[in-house]
């Protein structure tokens, strides 16, 4: 099993670092650049949601991203100090204009659902959460 982890503060300045971490550790295991990019996007979207919404961009809040390659499955864990939100409760299609912000919404979660095969969410003792996403790598792309 290949395993790598990254600890980061809840600030959007860390999004490029997260992308670099994912691509550096998975490049040798995922030959398709399109699939590698899809996975990078799905992970960044998950992290961005936690940074922006769960932790209100508080750089003192520490999150941990863990990648585990087991056989032909990629397991992605995000350990988040904030309480979980239910990805499954969001509309299945993105909203072109959200009534509250007058901007497009739901694109990130829609992308996660299109790219990732399984998502498990757990509330941990003390109110923190773990997001566990699974990507089957033998499928080149779900699109």
């Amino acid at each position: 099993m290949y395993k790598a982890s990254l600890q980061f503060g809840a600030t959007t300045d860390n999004l490029p670092i997260i992308r670099h971490f994912v691509q550096t550790h998975l490049r040798n295991h995922i030959p398709s650049s399109v699939t590698l990019n899809q996975i990078t996007v799905a992970i960044e979207e998950l992290c961005a949601n936690s940074i922006l919404h769960g932790n209100a961009e508080d750089p003192q809040k520490e999150l941990r991203l863990e990648l585990r390659l087991q056989g032909d499955k990629l397991h992605i864990y995000l350990y988040d100090p904030a309480p979980p939100y239910d990805i499954h409760s969001y509309p299945s299609e993105p909203t072109l204009l959200r009534a509250d912000t007058n901007r497009p919404g739901g694109f990130g979660i829609y992308l996660i659902r299109r790219i990732i095969d399984k998502i498990h969410i757990k509330r941990r003792r003390g109110g923190s959460s773990v997001y566990h996403m699974v990507k089957q790598l033998s499928h080149e792309s779900k699109s």
């Binding site: 901007r103 497009p104 990130g108």
Partner: protein
Amino acid sequence: MQIELLSGSTDTHLKLALSGELDAITAPKLYENLNRLLQQHTKVQQITLNCRGLTYLSSAGAGILLMSIDNFTPKGITLELTEVQPEVYNILDLLGLTKLMPVNHV
């Protein structure tokens, strides 16, 4: 993210090169830049964004492109993307944006 006005632009057709990464940090800057250019070029009917140098697009970037279409269409301005990298095209396609605007890939 960088945006550059290309030679060959006319009063009615802006040709721009978009490069770098379009994410939650950089996407608002693209929107500001496009709107500033439209204030400077009031006769524009078409904007072509050459995306050969665009290496990454997140949902925030896609959202800004969609907001731009919504903003430009009532003004009679069309937005098209050219020479999009396969990785970026795939994300636009997953989101359905390739059906909402002209997009061609390298």
